[in-house]
Amino acid sequence: MTGVRIAVTGVGCISSLGRDYRRFADALFRGDCGIGAITRFDTARCSITTAAEVQGYDERDHFEKERAARLDRFAQFAVVATREAVAAAGLRFDGRLSERTAIVHGTGVGGHTTLDFSYHRLYAQNAARLHPFTVPKLMFSSAVSHISLDLGIKGPAFAIASACASSGHAMAVGAMMIRSGLADVVLTGGAEACLTLGTMKGWEELRVMAHDTCRPFSRDRGGMVLGEGAATLVLEPFEHAQARGATILAELAGIGMSSDAHHLVAPSAEGAERAMRAALEDAGLEPRCVDYINAHGTGTQQNDATESAAIHQVFDGRARHLPVSSSKAQFGHLLGGAAAMESAAVLAALDRQMAPPTINFLGPDPDCDVDCVPNQARPQRIDVAMSNSVAFGGLNATMIFRRHA
C-alpha cells in the first residue's frame, strides 16, 4: 500500500445482461440470465450449443461503416464500454491530460473472431487472399489502439494477457501506474468476444462445459458457459478526482496477484488463497473487513470446490456466513474480460448495497461450503468487496474495492 488512494470515477460495460452499466446492474440484481442458444455461428457440429451472447448489438450504432470493418468484435466492445466509462467520469482528453492518461486493457484471446473467419476462408474455402486488415484486427492490443484513437489518448497504452485473469492483471497494473505517479488517469478493464465454432470446439474437448446452463457452487452443476463483452473502469488518484470535482464511485483499495506453479488447467486452492491474502495486505485490511466476494465461480466441478476451500483458508470460520456469489451464471465466462465485468458487478453491489445472486442454483454441494446468495439478490451493508479471478495456467488476481461514502 502506498499513500496514493485510487478512485474509480467511471464504469462502462457491455454484456449479455445489457449494453450499458445501468441496464447491466438492473439485470444483475433482478437475477436475469443472459445465457441462451448460440446464434453467432451454426452449432450443428457442437455438443455445446449455449452461450451468453450480447443481444441487440449493431456495430453501425457505434461505428461508421469503414471504421467498423477495421475492428474485431472484441475491440468494438472494448471501445463501447470505454466510451461509456469516460462519459460517466466526465473526462475530456485535451492538452496535458491526454498524455497523462494510460490505457491498460486485458484480453484472453484478442481478435479471435477475425482469426477464425480468416482461416476458414483460407483453409476451407481456398480463398486466394485475406483482408488487408486481418493482422491489425486480430492483434491482442488492437482494442487498446482503438481506444487511444477513439478518445485521443497519448499516454502509455498496452494489452495484458493472462487467460481468464487478463483484465484482473490489467486493473492491477493500472492501479500500480496511478500509485507510481506514471499516470493521472488510467482506463482499464478487459474485453472478449470469441464465440466462434473454432473456440467452441476447443472448449468442448476439455469437457468442462455445461450442456444447459451455468450453476456455480450448486449441486449437479455441469460446468462453465462462455460469454462475451467488455468492461472498463476509470481510475485516478483521489486528489486528481477531487480537484476536478468528479464523483467517486468507489476506491480500488487493494490488488493481489499470484501464480500456482501447479497445473496447466487444474486450479490450486493455495494459489487463489495467496492472491486474496496479497490483496488484503495491499489494502491494509483484515479478512473480517470483507463484506462480499464476487467469486471466479466458473461452475466447473474443480474451480468451485477449490475456490471454496481457498475462501475457507483466508476467512476461516466466517467463510460459511460471508456472501460469495458468482455472476457467471448470469453473463457467462468472459475469459479475459471476466475480472473487469465482475468488478463492475462489485461496483454495483457497493452502490446499491446489495449482494448479487448466484442464479440457477439447485441446492448445496458439500464441496462448496459457502453462502453463495442462492437465486436472489440480498440487500445488505457492503463497505468492502472482493473480486477473484483464477485463470487456466494458474494465474490469479484479486481486487478489493471499498465503498466511498
Binding site: H211, R221, G222, H263, L264, V265, A266, Q301
Partner: protein, 86 residues
C-alpha cells in the same frame, strides 16, 4: 491377434509413462496417476484412433465416472465400435 484392448492399453500406457504390458484391466486409472486432463487427452486419442465419439456426460461429476479402470474404457470403446458397424 491385435485387439481393441491392445490399442486402448497402448494409449493409456503412453500417458502413464509405462509399457503397455504393465497395464492390467483392473488397475484403477487413479493409481496410474492419470488425472482429469490426462483422461481428456486419452479420450481424444481414442476418439481419433477408432473414429468414434465418446459422449460428454451432462453431469460434470459423472463425466469420467464410467472410466475407473482400463477395462471400463475398453468396454465403452467396444460398445461404440459395435454401434458404428451396426
Amino acid at each position: 491377434m491385435h485387439t481393441v484392448a491392445d490399442d486402448v492399453y497402448a494409449i493409456i500406457a503412453r500417458h502413464a509413462k509405462l509399457e503397455a504390458a504393465q497395464i492390467t484391466p483392473a488397475t484403477p486409472l487413479d493409481a496410474l496417476s492419470i488425472d482429469s486432463l490426462a483422461m481428456v487427452e486419452i479420450i481424444f486419442q481414442i476418439e481419433e484412433h477408432f473414429n468414434i465419439t465418446i459422449p460428454d456426460d451432462k453431469r460434470i461429476a459423472e463425466r469420467f465416472a464410467n472410466f475407473r479402470t482400463p477395462a471400463d474404457v475398453v468396454a465403452a470403446v467396444e460398445v461404440l465400435l459395435a454401434q458404428k458397424t451396426a
